[in-house]
């Protein structure tokens, strides 16, 4: 394996989602290195630890480069066994959890999946938010818009659906979305049912060229996907939002995560 590739091994006695998210965030910042992920979730027995250790050492031998292990394992014996491997270790438990116990004056009580347990009221809230996002996707229902935390507007394929779903799954927010369509531009008015929720409206817009590319995958060579029509719809939507005083974000160069967090800031939903 050449120096521009590295294997990353995610080890956890839980789902491993925490270590993997941390790993993505850290490693994506190192340019020019391609990382390959291997996962060992629910690693909670010495047998599994032994298997993981063997795998680490095989990788070290076969690749000739030190693999990176990002891990969180509560059991000291299991953790120690894995640490015998020929690897570079990032250990969340050692780095953070033991010191936190002291700071909080409380014991860490490892419970797999605890942070997302269904017994937790937070869990119900998240599922309710996701059901809300699905029920209020693409303007399909305005039954309960008054309970929305945010209502996204924009032309078809401007990124409303993924952003709404992400806001619901990640932050438990009730996000509805509503398309702006050619009929709205001809009437030159916002959809009337949205008017009473003006303070919750936020726009998404997109570069016409990118919109053209995205729509063309769905409906090739249609009027809907033509560059000319994409230019018209985007310009008309932006004109309408400007006139109505609706703030908007460009989605062209933003990831869903960035959009979601910036929307929360704009609408003061983040505290």
């Amino acid at each position: 394996m050449d120096a521009s590739k590295r294997t990353v091994i995610y080890v956890s006695d839980g789902t491993g989602i925490t270590v993997e998210t941390l790993g993505h965030g850290l490693l994506a910042q190192f340019d020019g290195i391609e990382f390959r992920a291997i996962r060992f979730p629910f690693l909670d027995t010495m047998d599994k630890a032994q298997e993981c250790l063997s795998r680490i050492n095989e990788l070290y031998e076969s690749e000739g480069v030190t693999p990176i292990v990002i891990m969180t394992v509560t059991n000291k014996e299991i953790s120690a066994l894995i640490h015998l491997g020929q690897a570079y270790f990032i250990d969340l438990f050692d780095s953070f959890i033991a010191p936190l116990e002291e700071q909080l004056g409380a014991r860490y009580s490892r419970a797999v999946g605890r942070s997302h347990s269904q017994a937790h009221p937070q869990y119900d809230k998240r599922i309710a938010a996701m059901n809300f996002a699905l029920a209020h996707d693409d303007g399909v229902s305005d039954a309960d818009l008054k309970s929305a935390d945010i209502i996204l507007v924009g032309v078809s394929r401007s990124g409303k659906t993924p952003t709404s779903l992400y806001l619901s799954l990640q932050f438990s927010l009730k996000a509805a979305n509503y398309p702006l369509i050619p009929e709205d531009f001809e009437r030159n008015e916002l959809p009337s049912r949205l008017l009473q929720y003006r303070s919750k409206l936020f726009g998404l817009t997109i570069a016409p060229e990118q919109l053209h590319r995205i729509r063309n995958e769905r409906r090739p060579n249609s009027k809907y996907s033509s560059l000319e029509n994409c230019r018209y719809e985007v310009a008309a939507a932006e004109r309408m939002m400007r006139r109505e005083g609706i703030k908007w974000f460009e989605t062209t160069s933003r990831s869903i995560e960035e959009l979601a967090v910036q929307l929360m800031q704009e609408l003061n939903l983040d505290h």
Copy 2:
């Protein structure tokens, strides 16, 4: 503020999603303490750092308990200013990034949202997976089931939709889902269009009492939501899955994250 409450401040020069996910994972394990989150994303100027520092010290004064700051900030000057605050610091940059630079022989190049950039092919793959999950939710389409990574089956409200969406958003997997309905149980056969994809099928099931509670919120006092009918459907679905050799998971006591990771393991989608 009493000792059973703590304020956690998430500070990042990016979206803050990495620090927040890490924070949730760590703190949820400490029983009996209620954590309140405050977010400072996109903190990339000395002015913003000063504002954050003032807030940290205000919280320390007003609450009489040390707040916890979980942070990742690349700029040394900005980071140093925040570290002046009266807080307990968990600093991902100091703990991990500087040592990783040495290990990888590469420089860390902070780019906000880089890990999720739209320029990245991974991003297109994720959006494609989400569109797939939406297009193949609840059996609405079988147009492209052959390209699915996984097809979840189970009775209505057994958790198929959130699990499918999570698999797509978090792991870029193409997850379809298909309901098992009373007509299937009367015919006593799997929906015929699923038969050719048997190797991709996986079942979700749920305790009848919980199903009853969930359905009753949607359609109170209906046959659909009655405990008797929930018992019948769950038993019939499990019988059918057992006969057809379809593995299944109980969703009653599992979080979406656990389900998603365990499904990936069962279907060998995790390597």
